[in-house]
Every structure is written in structure tokens, then in C-alpha cells.
Symmetry: T
């Protein structure tokens, strides 16, 4: 059974409790539960992880080697700053989709650059918590086909 | 019944016939049929349009005012060059999702800038033809909630 | 009798019907009628043309050679993107004034550059539909003097 | 009776006496007299001011608060350098039109940026001394409507 | 018999009639006739096409797939703006030479960048109408060798 | 009898012996012999020169004053670095065509800028050794017409 | 009783022990004690926190929600690199003053940009350890007035 | 008795009368009186000066040599434009603190650069009129210690 | 008798009294006396002017029209900021040499750009007060030859 | 006995297990053992440290003060992002050599900038695990000479 | 027996005689003798070459084809300017290590870019004359392994 | 007796024979003779050198160590490209003045940057051949005073 790892980065533990105008009212626990149920329906294993520490995310990715077949990744603020997390993903070579809840292109200019988009399978931006569900659907499709989802 | 308009821009009529390594083997007709069926299942009206002419796209968007409730838009090459199409979307003020089949962030640098992302609800990039289906799912969610899909 | 050609570019057919906060409630038909009457009062011939298609604008300019003595031009979005329209104006060498209804300098940064301003007689920006009337007044002055309106 | 203030900046006292190829042969006195007559015809009060000193222009703008309803401003060289004059205009919050006699976009690149255009009602560039008259016409229109002249 | 397609873009229909100081007095009809005769002498099929519309050029290139073996392309103003035409050429993967009649490097800076040069076999710039003939000679050489003309 | 000077710069002595994937297998001696024969057929005098030393190229150009009527120049690496060679060409004011064997626009970004293109009659890029022959044809045309080859 | 949180970032634990020429000889413990006494005199609650770990700072800010009314923040090196800490401050929406002990504008250019200044109430730079005391004075003023300290 | 000079630049005479949302309602006279009283309490001499003229500020700084021991400087708009004032401060070599009432980092980008910050002892930004009082406190500390206030 | 005008800008009244390490110990009065004597020896009329006010410099240049035949100009800090002074020089069209006492190229980067060098006859930089004398020698040569001193 | 500290940053724990095409098959344990033996041979004390956490590296450097005489540092991804680690090295002022296993100049452009190279004794790049041994040799030389190894 | 070629570029003949603070007191002859002895110990052939002439360096590299197996290269000033030398190295395709005696990253910004680093096996910077010896050690390792020294 | 060395770079051997509109009609021999006579009058030794070869200039500078006390340098085109010549001047540490005959600031933008100005005593630009004489006068002054000519 293929396994999908959901990784959320800095400040995503606050989801649903802060800045609802930007990020909505759904909590991270809601998202993780919803995605777990979706994974079960799709016949996929599932683990969720969140940390505000770059090193913890790096090590989670390192440990995913040989365990997970796909990563759904919302690096949060690390999107724009973490070469270390990029390098971990390059090292383990696990396909991943980058998700952002809010539309980063409508915010500060420094949020327009990602250290992950060019090495991701794809990106889903601005579609709220549903973006994670769409990514899980795409992950299932990717794992089912055994090819890039072109 | 809410109505969704699918607009594809320059060269997307070639989908499935050219550069399969980049764009896959699914044709535009396949995509339009699949999305039509998906729309029906979701209780949504649906029209599909493709043109290689910027003006035709601009006018299609203009005419969508009062007819369509959501646009799924893959501007193709116009993503990086068409202020006219951006202006048409600003004028009609219909919410839309921007879709790209290939991962534009892994290609030439001029493909990293979009004239649409900052005014879109969101973007789906690099997930192949499935990206359109995910966009339709998100459109349905958006129209059902009556709010941004945060 | 000298002849003035009014050319409006992409999305200006929507004038008065969309984004009134930015562009006001006067329609393009209103403007064209007003300018026609003004031309008559000034003893000038007058033709108005609008298109959302860059090629149609290019060809209108090409055909103005030998027919029109002055052009009042609002390229709309093509202001920022059309080298082809610039080249047509360079080719026919008809003096023209560039008009923008809204204040482009108070909008997105990409609207601050024009492919036309450096080869125009002058520009009128941000004065609403009245900008066209001021341009007609200036055109009359220019044609009467037979020199640049310094 | 609404009052219009005409302000000309550095070196515009030389108008008509120097560089006629660029600026024409009309003197500043001619322009001020013409605009005064035009204001009278339009039922507007009018004062004209010129200085080569940035501080004098700043203070003229400061003193216009509560006295003038509209400013026609040709900052001359200060267009490209004076944040102080910009700040004075922001402080008094009097609507103004920016006028340039020559086509600044056809001259040195540093003349393409203005510290005023984005906070002006609009700009008139390259139409010679007549540009002031067109600005007065627009000012009258603006004051008559009580709204931005969209 | 190998077939060569000559494509000319925006405003090249004016050749020989406008701006002779820049573009010379040879007309497009002259060029097309000369190249047709040259093609016949070289045992090559030949078709010529010109349009001011980007979409028409895109579609001409799309339809060349399976019909033409080489393209001689002068995109005119689209050289600097058309990602859509670039994408059409990438899609059909027909070798082509980019030709410019005038020396674009001696003109405005925005003419120094081409969306085509990096994917062309080569470029010929500034040699006037003869540049097309040189391109036909090179096309013949290319098609005869069956390799890049190194 | 008009005289054409062929100048090749740094590392072009290696032609045909190194990096055949980029530069092909034709040697510089082959090219010089071929161009000499072509010049004879066209009734032109011909001299060929190659050096890896910038100063030798500069002095060759200086000495061409009053001796040569046209230069075919492939500066090699000096294309991107030699203001001295540019200055020599400006000083002697002999018309020249710039030739590059490989497509410099498909290589490193620093190869996209030339210190020669804006002062050349024209450029021929990426057409292999044949590019020199096309340049000789154009030189003959230029010298025959006594004008720029527009 | 309003509560003020003092947060110091990377390497500020070394204060007073390293690089006295840049940072002086006062230790962090001295500063924290001094500010605690000052807070008491002003009738304010006070907590001090220092960490070299970005994640610890992020979490300290997250936990300040509902507990602290004002933050005095010297992010140290994170000033120039931490979007995560910026996001935490945006999320909890607690007013804060940014303090730097040394004059960052007189040091390396990368120290001239801060990810915090634009969202801070204000900044105090280059005034040594006393800068913290001035920030505490300003915090008291801010909390007393219930408005921005304009 | 050490002497402190307070210098305010362009438009700061308007303080408290214009743009209260940005600058508050305290007048410059209020600030000068408050600082004078604070100086007296601290045993410092005090003079206040304001001008909208760059030259007057330059000369005030020149004349401060040998008279004042510290300058509290809010250059207003000259912050971003006056090399002359910077040079005067370099010449007299009197330590100074730069004060801005509003948060310049939250305003237009051209306000993010100062010609003074790198040569100041330090800067206080965004803390309203109180910023001047904090600067006086720091000046007293600086003059008391006879060293930089590290 | 030809007349030479010496103009010194902001802070040059401090020469010889401040920053001797950068500017030396010669006073402005010394320089003006030395140049006056040199002018007399060369049979030239001479006037010297210094001001810290940009407007005074502008007006001095304006008034030089018809009175002075050559200007020796050290704009001081206005070198880098004054378009108004540049415009005055363009207007009166009097040839001038730009002098800087210190080597501006060895100082802050903003001192490397001058608004005057491209319209000056020439520049003399870094040679101390003697630079003025060399400029006077060159002015004499220029006026004697009646041509540019090539 | 002088002491050398070896510090490896993010993802270097994966050495020899991931991306062998880029980083080779030698493990970090191999490197640490090899360097330990080399240190013993050279009569140097030795400690090795690796962490994926920026803060752990910062603190390791802080604690090296007074204990280690030289640092061999491969910051991994932190090379391009960590001002905090740079500041720690500036604070403890221990000489160090920067080592990179792969050739960072042949990889993504963001890897071409290092926050460490300008404050290091020197750098060794692209020479694989041997680079560490060369650094140890250089460290020994540096410590033996008591000067920079010029 | 494998052969190593040591090439030193412009001004390295001055080593040990000029700027000892930057480059040390070891002469080039010392270095060449030391490396020759080291090569002998390692069983490697060795030749040393120095020139101030770019062309001589280019030709030395050209002639190394088929003779040398590895190059140790310190291009001196040509590091930052010579595309010709880069092209020679690309042509002969001999592996090389780039050495700089001083730390170029701590000097002028134009010294931070090298035309060689991205095509070198690796670089050794700032370690003084010893850098050459380390490069010889690495060359031996490279030649012994027959692979890149990862 | 102090000795002055005059060095002229690429293409300056053409002086007086080419491009008289830019460089005048005085030959290099004229200049060298004039300066030799001037040196004799001033009691200075004098040698003149010109080369089109960068290496020859580098070596001339190297050999000037211990022989010449001052250099008058017109690097010609090498002004903008030669780090090698800059390094030679840094190495020998002989004071020099940079001379340009034409006004480089009124020519192509790449001529606005010099690799020499920041390390020169000063520069003289645009004053024609007389510029060399002024430089000799300044050299004499410099050598007489034994200090920088401030």
C-alpha cells in the first residue's frame, strides 16, 4: 500500500485560530483528519506532520526515504527561505506537490518566489484547505499511473 | 444552475498531438468531454472554448459577463504576455482558477511570471490534464459555499 | 479638410459598463459621438475605430496612411505590450496623441511603461473621457499650426 | 468662486527665451496671461507662481491650503527629484494636474520618472504651452463636477 | 521534394512602401517572388505567408507540421513579444532560421531580445531583403545534409 | 578590385579539431580556402587572418584601412569582451559582417551580448561554416550596390 | 496590568562577552534585569526570552497571544532572514517595536533590509542597550494611550 | 553645558495640522517646547530650527560646528534626496540621531532609503512625536558617557 | 575679453576648514583669489560665486547667459542630485568644465554618478584645488581655439 | 595542542547514502574518522559535529570560543541562508575554512553566493570528501605559522 | 606517467615581490620548484608556465591537448575577464582546478565572479601558495581514481 | 630627478589619423613630443610608451617599479575591460592620473565605468590632447609636494 506524507511548516499549527480573513477557519487538525479519511478511501497509507522548526521538517523528509511514496508539502514561510528543506527533498527524491492555502501571488513580493516549485510535481495555490484534498487526489492519480500525471 | 466556462489559450488545441514528453497524450477534446461530464455530475452548466487568438479570448471573457459564474482558465503562452486578457477578467469580475498542465516553474524563466495569478482565486500547476478536473472540483466548492474557498 | 482618426484598443468597448470606479460611466459610443461633434465644430474630418484585436489596430493604422492627418490613440492594454502597433505608427508616420482614461501611474507597475509615449506628440493621462476631447483640441491646434504644438 | 493656482518650477522662467527647439517661443508671462484670461472666462479665480527654489514651491503649496481648489503644476526639473514638493501636495490634499511642455518620454531616461504622477488627478505631456490651457479646461470640469473627471 | 515555408509577421506587408531608410525599397511581393524562384532552382517546394495577426502566424506554423521541412521566419514585432509563436514552433519542431531585414541591435534596446533566437537553427540580421535569400541557401544546405549546418 | 578581409579570433584555429558537436568538423584552413575560391569567383580580392591575441586582431583591423573594403569578422570569445577591437573597427570605418558558427543565443547568457553587432552591417549566427560563405555573398552584394544592403 | 514581552534572537546571548567594539560590554542579563525594573516602575508585567533557534522564537510569539500586550523584539540575524517569525507576528497581531543595538545601516548591505520594520510600530537602531529602555518607554506610552504613538 | 540642536526639515512645520492619520495632532511648536523643557531638566542647552529649504538646513548644520554637541535630526523629505545635508553633517562631524515620526518602512519604497542612517549614531522611526523625546534621552546618555551609547 | 565664471556648490564654503584629510587645507577664498590672478594673466574676465542653495546656483547660471563665455563648475553635492542645475546649463548653453577636488570614484557609490559629466566639455577629478587651475588653463585654451579642445 | 573543530550543516548526515552522482559514496562517518586520524598524525586535537538545525550549529560555534583554534566548516544549505551562523563566527573570531563537496558554481545560481566566504580564511569547493583533508592540511599550516597562510 | 600543467596568469610573476600583505612573500619560482618536487614525489610529470598575455595562456592550453592530463590554473586577473581562456579549456577538455592565493571574496565585488569556476573540477581560494600544493594533491587523487574526486 | 611615464593603450597610435570628430587631429607623436618638452621644462625625466597589447602595458607598468615616480595613463579601451592592468598598478603602487581625450560620459554607457578611476590620484576627461599636459602639470605638483595634491 502506497504511503502519503503530509508536511506542514511554520505557523500552520495556527490554522483556523488566527487571521481567518487570510487562512479561513478550518484547523490543522481538521485538515489532517479529513486527509486521513480521504487516504483511507483511496487505499493509501497516511501520516501527518507539522513543525515550526526547519530542522524537524528536514529530518522528517530524510526519514521518509523508503517509507513514503509521495509528500504533500506546505512549507509555510520556509517556502521562501529554506534551501535545507529543498536539499532534503532533492536527496530523498520522493515526488511531492506544493500546497499554499492563501494566494501567495496576491501578497508581498517576497512570497512570489518558492525554493520548491521547480522541483515539485506541481503546485496548488490559493484554494484554501481544499487544496490539500486536491493534492491527495493528484497524489493518488500519480501513484496509480506510476508516471508523472501529464 | 451555476455555469462554468473553460477557456484554453494559444496552442492548447495541439494537446495530445505534440510534445507528449511535456504535455502528455490526452487531447483537448478529451479534456473538454471529461470536464463536461464532471460538470453534469456536479450539477453545473459548462461551456468550453479554445482559441489561439488573444482577441477571441478577450471577447469570450467579455461575453461571459452575466452568463458564467466561474472560469477555468489556461491562457497558454498568453499567461506571460496578455495584459488585455487580464483587463477583460478584471472588467467582468468573474472568479477564476488558473491552470497549467506542465510545471512552468521548471521551464524557461520567462514562464515564471503570470499576468493572472495575483487576480485569480488560485492556481493549479504541473498536474497534467487532471489539473482541470481539480479546478472544476474547486469551482464547485467555491460556487456552493458562495465564498472564497479558504 | 484635415482628418482625425480615433483608435481605441482592447476592452475599451466595455467603457461605461464595467469598473465604473476606475473608468466612469460614459460609454465608448458617447465618446465617439462627442468627438465626432467636436471634430465637426472644428472643421475636421473624423473616423472612430475600436478593436480588441492587435492586428485590427495595426491594419487600421496602416490604412490611415494618406487618409488621416492625426490619430488620437488609446491602446488600452496594448500600451504595455504591442511592439507591432508601435511599428505600424512608426511606418505611417502620422502624428498622434496617446490618451489614457484612468491614471496609469496610480495602478500596477507594469502599467507605467508605454511603447508609445516616446514616439507620440504627447500624452494625456487620468482625465477621464474628457481626455479625448482635450486631445482633439490639441490635434486641431497641431494641424492648424503645421508644427509641433510647442 | 473656485480658485486655480498655477505653479511652475525650476527654469520655467526661461520659457520662450531658451532652447526654443525643445520648449517653443511662448514666454511664461504669455502663458500666465493666457491662463488668467481663460480662468476669468470659466468663472475661476487664478494665481500664478514660479520659482527656481524648491522651498518656495513647497511653501506656495502649503499656503494654498484653504485658498486654492485646484493646482496646475509643472515642477520642471523637480519632477524627478523633489520628495519635499510631493509631501507638500500630499499634506494639503488639493487636486492637481501635472503638465510638461516637452515630451519627457522622448528625452533622457531619468526624465521618465515623476514623483507626482501617481498622486495627480492626471498628466498632460508634450503638448506645449497649450498643455496648460487643456489643464485649465480639465480643472474647470473637475471643479464643476465635484468628482474625479472619469 | 523538401518544402520551405516563408513566414513574415507584423507590418512586413508594408515593405518597400514605408521607412525606406530603415527597410529599403524592395516589396514583400518582390521578396516572395525571388525566394520562390530560388526555391525552384534549388529543387525545393515553397509557400509564402504574411500576417499582422499573431494567431494567424501561430496557426500557419501549426499547420506546417507534416507539410513543411524548414521555415524561414521574420516575426517582425512579434520577435520581441510572442511566446505563443515560440510555443507553436516548439510544438511542431520544424527547423527554422530567423531573419531580420534591419539591424535590430542598432535600434531600441527592447529589439535586442528575441523569443526565437535560442530555438532557431540560426539568425541572419541586418542584411536587407538579401537576408531571406541567404536563409534559403542555408535551408537548402541544411535539408541536403540532414544535419545541423555546423 | 574590391578586397575582403576575413578575420577570425580566439580559438578559431581549433575549428574542426575540437568540440565537433558544437563547431562541426570543417577546419579553419578549409574555410579560408573555400572563401578564397568564392572571392575569386566573385571578382574580389581576399586575405584571411586568425589570431588568439586581441592586439594582433586590433592591429590587423588598423592596417586594413585603405587596403580592405569589407571585413568578415568572427571575433570568437572577443565578441563578448573586446572594446579594443570595437574601437579599431570604429576607427577604420570599414563595413563588416559579424559571423558566429554556433548559435550563441542557445549557450551561456554572457554569450548573448556582442560588442560588435550594433556597429556591424549585420550578423549571421548559428549557420556553421556556411555562415562565412553567406557573409561573402552579402559582402559582394554590399560592395556591388555601394549602399547598405537594405 | 498590561504585559510586555522582550524577545532577543540569535547570538544575543553573547552580548557583553563578544565584539564589544560593536555591541558594548553590557550583558543580556543586565539588559533583562534593567528592563524588568523599568517595567515594574511603569506598572507593566514583563517577561524576557532569548533563543538562537528560529522555531523557539516563533513559538514564543505564538504563545504570547492573549498573554502579552506588546513585544520588544531584537531578532538579531533573523531580522534579515526569517519569514517564519514575521508570519508569527502577523498571526498574533501584537504591536511590537524592533530594536537593534548596533547601527545596521553602517554594516554589510544585507543588514539594511528587515522582514519586520514595515509591520512594526517602529524601530530603534544603533543606540546600544539603551535602545531597549527607550522601547520600553515607548511601549508604556503606546499601551497608555491605546493608540499608535503618533 | 552641552548643547543639543533640534533640526526639522521640509513640511514638518505642518505637523499637527495636516494628515493627522499619518503624523498625529501634536504641533511642531508642541514638540519644540516639550524638548526644550526636557533639555532643561537634563541640564542641556537647546535650540530648535525648522526649514523647508535644504540650504537653510545645510547652513544651520555648518554653523553648529563649535556650538552644538549633538543634533536631533528629522530631515523630512530630504532624508531621501539631500546629499548636501549629508555632506554638511560629515563636515562638522557632530554626532546626531535621525528621527522619523511615521514608519517610513510601511510607506512608499523610495522612503526606505536614507542618506543619513549610515552616518548617524542611530535612528528612531515610527514612534510619533515621542521619538524626539527618546532621542533627547539618548543624546543625554551619549553626552554623559562621552562614548557611543553601545 | 572673454569671461570665465567659477561656480562652487553646497558646502564648498567650508573648504580648508573641515575634513582636511579629504579636501585639503586651501580655503575657497584662496582658490578664488588664485583663479582671479590666473585669469588676469590669461587676459580673461573672472567672477566667482558660491552658494549652498540650488536655486541660487540655477539663477547664477541663468544670469550668465550673454555675460560669461565659460563656466568652471564644482556642484558639490548637487553633482549627484540636481536636475535643475543641469537644466539651467542646458538652457544657457555655455561650455563648462566640471571639477571635483576629491576623487569621487574612491568614495560612496552614489558619488560615482554625475548629472553634469555628459553635457560638460570635460571633467577634472581628484587633483585637489589645483584642479580649478587646470580647468582655467583648459578654459583659456578652449576660448582661444573657438573649438572643443580635442 | 591546537584543536580543530569540524562542523557539517544541513543534510550532510546523508553523505554517501543519497545522490552519489553529486556527493559521492563516502559517508560522513568515514570523513570524520579520516579527519580524526589525520588530526592525530598532525598533532592536533579534533572534534566533529553535524546538525540539521541552524541553532545547534550556532551554539556549537559559540561554545568553540576558547576551546577550538580552527574550524573546518561545510554549512551545507545554510551557506546561502544563515546570517545567524555568520554572526556566531564573527563573534567567536576563530579562523575557519569553508568546504563544499560538490562544485556549487556548476549548480543553481542561488548556490553561488555564500554568507561565509568573505570572512573565511579560504574556501575549498568541488573536490569531494578530499576537500576536508585538504582543509585540515591547511589548518595545520595556518596554526603552525601563526599567520594567515599567504 | 600522467602529466600536470601549472598555469599562472597576469601579474603572478610578481609574487613575493609586491603587495606582500595580500599575496605573501613566496615567489613564483618558489612555488614552481615546490610543485615540481611534489609532482616528482607523486610520480607525476610537471610543467609550469606563466604569462601576462591572455593569448599566450590560451595557446598554452591549446597545446596541452594530448600532452597534459590535468591543469592547475590561477588565471590571475583573467579570472574575471577572459572568455577566450574559458573557451580554450572547454575545447581541450582537460580537467583543471582553479586556485587563488588571496581570498577574492573579501576583495572588490568584480572579483567575486569567475569565468572558470563552473567548468572547473573545483576551486581553492585564499589559502596562499599552499593552495597550489593542495591542488596538486587533489590532481593526483583525481588522476589516480580516474573519476571526479567526489 | 623624478621620472614620469606616459602610457597610452589600445588604438591610441591612431590619434590624429582617425575619427577626428571624436579625437581631434593631433597625433600621438605630437603629444609625446609636447609632453617630453614639458617634462624637460619642469625638470622631470620622461618616457612614453604605447601598445595595443594589454600584456605589453601590464609589463611596462611592472617594469616601472623603481624607475618611474608617476604615471600618466590613458588605457584606451582597456579602461573598461582590463583587471590585469589594474592589478599591475596596484602591485607597483606608483601614483597615476587617468586621462581620456574624449568625453567618455557622452558616449556609450559601457564607457562610463573605469577599472582605474578609484585607484588613480585623479582623472582628466574630455579635454583633448591638452588633458595630457594638464596631467603633467598635476604630476609635477604632486611630486613637488610629496603629498596627494589636495
Amino acid at each position: 500500500m502506497a504511503h502519503v506524507l503530509l508536511i506542514n511548516g511554520a505557523n500552520l499549527n495556527l490554522l483556523g485560530t488566527r487571521e481567518p480573513a487570510v487562512y479561513g477557519s478550518v484547523t490543522l487538525a481538521d485538515i489532517e483528519r479529513t486527509l486521513g479519511e480521504q487516504a483511507t478511501r483511496l487505499g493509501l497509507g497516511f501520516t501527518a506532520f507539522q513543525s515550526n522548526a526547519e530542522a524537524a521538517l528536514v529530518e522528517q523528509v530524510q526519514q521518509a526515504a523508503g517509507r513514503s511514496d509521495f509528500i504533500i508539502l506546505n512549507p509555510g514561510a520556509f517556502t521562501h527561505t529554506s534551501v535545507a528543506l529543498r536539499d532534503a527533498l532533492l536527496a530523498v527524491d520522493i515526488p511531492f506537490i506544493e500546497v499554499h492555502i492563501s494566494n501567495v501571488y496576491a501578497r508581498e513580493e517576497f512570497r512570489h518566489h518558492s525554493y520548491f516549485s521547480d522541483i515539485a510535481v506541481g503546485t496548488i495555490v490559493g484554494l484554501g484547505p481544499q487544496g490539500y484534498e486536491l493534492a491527495m487526489t493528484a497524489a493518488h492519480h500519480y501513484l496509480h499511473d506510476g508516471t508523472t500525471p501529464a
